[in-house]
Symmetry: C2
Subunit: 525 residues, 2 copies
Amino acid sequence: MQYYNFDKTAAFKTLSALASTGKDFDYKAIDAERVRNTITPMAAGLAYSYAAKPVTPSVLDALQALADEQELVAKYQALLDGETMNTGENRKVLHHLLRGQLGNDVLFEGKNLGVFYRQELERFSTFADAVHAGKITGTTGKRFTTAVQIGIGGSDLGPRALYLALENWAEVEGKKKLNAKFISNVDPDDASAVLSTLSLEETIFVLVSKSGTTQETLANELFVKEKLKKMGLDSSRHIVAVTSETSPLAHNKAYLNSFYMDDFIGGRYSSTSGVGGVILSLAFGPDVFKEILSGAHEADALSLEKNIRKNPALLDALIGVWERNFLGFPYTAVLPYSQALSRFPAHLQQLDMESNGKRVNRFGQPIAYSTGPVVFGEPGTNGQHSFYQLLHQGVDIVPLQFIGFVQSQRKDDVIVDGSESQTKLKANLAAQIAAFAKGKNDVNANKEFTGRRPSSLIFGRRLTPSSLGALLAHFENKVMFQGLVWNINSFDQEGVQLGKTLTRKVLAGNSGDEILEAYRKLLEI
Amino acid sequence: MQYYNFDKTAAFKTLSALASTGKDFDYKAIDAERVRNTITPMAAGLAYSYAAKPVTPSVLDALQALADEQELVAKYQALLDGETMNTGENRKVLHHLLRGQLGNDVLFEGKNLGVFYRQELERFSTFADAVHAGKITGTTGKRFTTAVQIGIGGSDLGPRALYLALENWAEVEGKKKLNAKFISNVDPDDASAVLSTLSLEETIFVLVSKSGTTQETLANELFVKEKLKKMGLDSSRHIVAVTSETSPLAHNKAYLNSFYMDDFIGGRYSSTSGVGGVILSLAFGPDVFKEILSGAHEADALSLEKNIRKNPALLDALIGVWERNFLGFPYTAVLPYSQALSRFPAHLQQLDMESNGKRVNRFGQPIAYSTGPVVFGEPGTNGQHSFYQLLHQGVDIVPLQFIGFVQSQRKDDVIVDGSESQTKLKANLAAQIAAFAKGKNDVNANKEFTGRRPSSLIFGRRLTPSSLGALLAHFENKVMFQGLVWNINSFDQEGVQLGKTLTRKVLAGNSGDEILEAYRKLLEI
């Protein structure tokens, strides 16, 4: 298998030559037939609709040729088979293996990692069941009613987004076992505020740090331990650790239990490991977490399809590349018409921008083309009353990713003016897609909508554990495929290191750096 | 006073000629003296530091000349004096007048609007005091313990961001009177979930819609009324309205009380009217809300200063224009190192993108230059473990707006490795500013930081009601000044209309529009 820079491929030239096809795309010609013919089924009953994306059959053919030339599916298979895809850090990339096996056995230092991951899954499933059964309790013997995750970045955004996505579903389906809360920021107001609302004797903490050295997480751990101590509670009966086996948190009697992953599970890809699994299994039960895994696994399997028209993650990735590199759009907005997905855009922002916000290729050489876009978003319809003004009538064009569901989660609704709120929600979604694509002429330029603003739609029947898992894996795989197109390493994050180094310098005393010392003075550090 | 398109000004030419000064700005030369000399005091003890922005004295002089040529401060004064600045809708723009008077009396249809706004402020202050004293209760006579805002867009994001910003401060300062919750989305899961957690007999609802016709808000109002009815509660004893006097919600016996604003208070600028004032006065007491107003008023007064080096909102606006129009950056990130400001970026996203996401000038003519950028952000240090990778090592440059405070709000902290968490928070902030500006050379390109990424810092002693008010008004005035530079109307939002029209079409039955009908089928509307 060969790894080429994107601008060295034949497909790059073909696509460059086609750019005007995208720029002049006839949005007004989108009709019912195009909507019907531009739907790619996704896993777990979801579907990807790209009628309102500026792609013609010839563009799709060129994107297919790109996928073939760059051997994107073969490279994904190599990743599944355990090849060292995180080149910078010399690591395998194995988050798919957490969900099921789609390649060869992956062996490392004599260990079958698929077996190891499944064992850990069963270990924390059993643990969660014991908590729910009241067999494991805190210091005073009271049952745990709340689980609090202590983690940051990948140990926070993904698990938090998934928890919020299913909290209401679980409640109405009778699956809610424990409340979950999250402490992430080193800002002491975060931990202090969360802890002030809790009955600590009924609280179990999930301390998550792969390395066991994350500054914020260790500070918050001690914050929690001091509060437990003040209440006369034994912290070793209230904290479990999720970490790697080589971390200082591992095999440590200071914790009630410890669950393990390894360096082959990147933070932003770790929601389907113990990083997300422990808190979600405690909150909703291990069966619900396993349904998330099963939806994700189905999406992972679908991503092996070589025909881009049948592989939604690959297709989504390639359309994104088309928009980024040939149509020149530097951002993309994620707009879920589902309040349950309120923090899903923040997770995708991390997933995408941390993975593909790179300016060197997988061999560490600078590249000369655009990579990952800026990603942002808020739930609809809220966003409609906020930043959509710029999306509709701004000078620049922002590609849009809509997400919507036929049914609500709670099925608790009201009829006003002849329609349910869920119907209004969906009507708004349909209206926005049409408005962005087609616009509206008006003699008053201030009331004119130029339209021609691309969007795609992921839709399904209801947001459930399996469709949520499929949605999560769809975006993980999309980001992976884009990284492979761009020939970058989507699995490291060297860009976070310099800040850490300079922070340590500031904390160690006089840094000897004039600008650091000047800001130390301003902020009274 | 003359209103010119930006590209017709002499300053536009001067700044264009200076662009290379910004592009070649020597970030490595930033030293302690520059940091000291590039601080502009703001209201309420805050300060704006722009050492790490690519501006030289000659650029600042050219920006001063732009401010003078475009008569920005005189136009602001005209706005304060009640001139019709919302040209598209033929309306005055009077949100500053809510905070205090800085110009002539503003009269409309025989009414002195400053007097009217103060009367309403006193009316809802008295009302909140009566609720706190237990003189006003719900149907069962129990005291209100929770206030729930029903509103969307400007009636949600700003008030919610301000509530979250002060919730912890209020708790530790003994000012917390009621809990506040928010229902915004037409997604029925939003209202259903919020209501499921409440004791309705102890809940007062604040229904906010200026027009009294907002689809989402009316649907959620009925949602609430049905739940109240089911509990045997009289909704007219549990709901107050905040609206204009001409709306169907006004002077309506269906509500416990009604408080008024008018068409001269735009949604995204309405946090300091009853839209934010009623819920914040209920939550924290009217005195706290008046402190917010006082901080905002101080910022408004400071914005009248003609010397841009002494007018932080104007300076911030002009540096933003410099980056947008001459250095070509299409986005900006807002990064508060304060968990309390977790939703402040979402408010600023609305404020900025809805105000300045425009492609026609104030006379309704298309313009040929860039206007408002895409705005996004999350609190630090959380963002450091998320999208900062792209900010540090991405292909494109994203200008950054940091915000930080010397002290935490709750003053509940822990010492780990010799420093408090608040100190770590600030050390991270200082480190990031330095890292983004100066970067780091490395023989390994993957570990290299090119630096040269601009940022500014707003800092202060502690986030309090008055500093929060100053912060809010700073950004409102910044956005206003940018709109004046671009010669656009920052106070209308025609871009939200088409979606509303098409939604009504879908809800009314067969829309006769092929694409709408196709999506109706997909989403089973």
